[in-house]
């Protein structure tokens, strides 16, 4: 669906959009969602620092496993990842970051989870891929990389250099 070059262009655009709204990022917290949103969050933070001279970014990782609404509803035990937020989100502008926005249920869980760390001033959502017509909840991103129409039988796979060897996005049938 997207090549490494296209992904890079999109990442820079998203970084610029964030910059436009948050300027120096002192009152902003970027929160990458476990397990796959953290690569996007780390990449954006790196671009903002290296290419746009942002000095310091509050970057956190949030795991939403214990806040999900499908506990005991599937076959498998939901496995948790680690949460690492070593700053207060109280009064900050929080940007939740995830790779793919699909049903919106993860974001719903994240909205609850983030409250355990304080009351943010506002919460925005950034996703690299926004799957249209698939939402179960009234949740829309503030920043989106690419909008796609995919049917339910298809899956968007986002691969990252750090984790999977190269940056590439596939649309695969399940």
């Amino acid at each position: 669906m997207l090549s490494s070059k296209e992904i890079n262009i999109i990442l820079h655009r998203l970084a610029c959009q964030l910059l436009e709204h948050h300027l120096d990022f002192t009152e902003t917290a970027l929160i990458g969602m476990q397990p796959r949103g953290i690569f996007l969050a780390q990449r954006l933070s790196k671009i903002l620092k290296e290419d746009y001279g942002v000095r310091q970014i509050n970057l956190g990782l949030l795991d939403i496993t214990f806040y999900r609404d499908d506990f005991r509803r599937g076959e498998k035990t939901l496995e948790a990842s680690s949460t690492k937020i070593d700053f207060l989100v109280e009064g900050k502008k929080v940007v939740l970051i995830d790779d793919v926005l699909y049903t919106g249920r993860s974001i719903r869980a994240a909205l609850t989870a983030i409250q355990s760390f304080g009351r943010p001033k506002e919460i925005e959502l950034l996703t690299l891929i926004d799957r249209r017509f698939s939402r179960h909840l009234p949740i829309q991103p503030n920043y989106r990389g690419r909008q796609v129409d995919a049917i339910n039988e298809e899956k968007v796979k986002v691969m990252w250099k750090e984790n999977d060897g190269k940056d590439i996005i596939y649309l695969v049938s399940k």
Binding site: T65, F66, Y67, K76, A80, S82, T83, S116, G118
Partner: protein
């Protein structure tokens, strides 16, 4: 592995090594949760848990209740002292009555060994053994190993000595199973009268000299003399026990290396360990209590996820 191999936690004996690792990894996440300013997650909103205690307990009961509440489960408490057990009701009847109130999980402490196993065969709920007589106390052993892992990095290959009344101790038996499963070396130390006859059959060496045992070990788990279970005289006097098997600061400082001191509580200060040992830097007794909540959250979370 992402789920437990068991439906109930009846004893360490029934667990696999991977189960223990999964519980520890899950407990790591819960430990982070209970150190937040808001220490609660909504996972178990639709689960009801009954804590039924047929024997007295402070730490374990509070720890379980706190763990359940931190997971947002509904909790009912029952202790035999104020209940119909006194009127002659059987264990199965008592529990089935509680289950009729739509309870999903039972945490039980009972003076009879095997009570949890018996119950799991007769009622339809997940059972967590919170101590059954002199048999097992699995969550205590899990939190003990978890505390060793936290303090020393790994459990595998570490030398652990369990000192005191091994004969009447469910903590000792569960710890032996858990430590062996993780590849630690275990010795027991205490008066011969308080060491079970067939302990060697578990692959456990007996060391009757305390100083030798302490010099050998990385971790010493000091058990309490359970006066309430001593039906006959197993040693002449408490004072003599303390002289032979009590650890004081002078003994601790005289060892070749710095060892870790553990105690499952409640401590009889001045009997098995002195106050300056219990409160020393080498003691991780209060860490054990903190880890107890995280471990019990992990156990309950993992078992609850298997309730259909």
């Amino acid at each position: 592995m992402s789920e437990l191999s068991v439906r109930h936690l009846l004893g360490i004996k029934y667990l696999k090594e991977e189960d223990i690792q999964l519980i520890f990894e899950t407990a790591d996440h819960f430990k982070e949760v209970i150190n937040r300013s808001i220490k609660k997650v909504p996972s178990l909103r639709d689960i009801t848990i009954a804590n039924i205690f047929f024997e007295s307990s402070t730490r374990t009961k509070l720890s379980f209740e706190l763990a359940e509440k931190r997971l947002s489960a509904d909790v009912i408490n029952f202790s035999s002292a104020q209940s119909s057990v006194k009127k002659g009701e059987t264990l199965i009847d008592t529990v089935n009555n509680i289950l009729s109130m739509k309870v999903d999980m039972v945490v039980m402490r009972h003076p009879s060994p095997g009570a949890g196993i018996f119950l799991s065969q007769h009622v339809d709920a997940a059972i967590v053994n919170a101590g059954d007589g002199a048999h097992e106390h699995p969550t205590q052993a899990l939190l003990d190993s978890y505390s060793i892992r936290e303090k020393l990095g790994v459990v595998t290959g570490k030398n652990v000595v369990i000192v005191g009344d091994i004969l009447h101790s469910r903590v000792a038996l569960s710890n032996i199973f858990a430590l062996k499963l993780q590849g630690a070396n275990v010795k027991v130390c205490g008066p011969r009268t308080l060491i079970p006859k067939y302990i060697e059959s578990l692959g456990i060496e007996v060391e009757s000299n305390l100083i030798k045992a302490l010099n050998w070990c990385d971790v010493a788990n000091m058990l309490r003399i359970q006066s309430e279970r001593l039906d006959i005289s197993y040693f002449p006097t408490t004072r003599e026990y303390t002289q032979q098997y009590g650890v004081n600061k002078a003994i601790l400082d005289g060892l070749d290396k710095e060892i870790v001191i553990m105690h499952p509580g409640p401590i009889n200060r001045g009997v098995e360990i002195t106050s300056d040992v219990a409160d020393s830097k080498q003691s991780i007794i209060l860490n054990q209590v903190e880890n107890g909540v995280a471990i019990r959250m992990a156990v309950i979370y993992l078992l609850a996820s298997k309730i259909k």
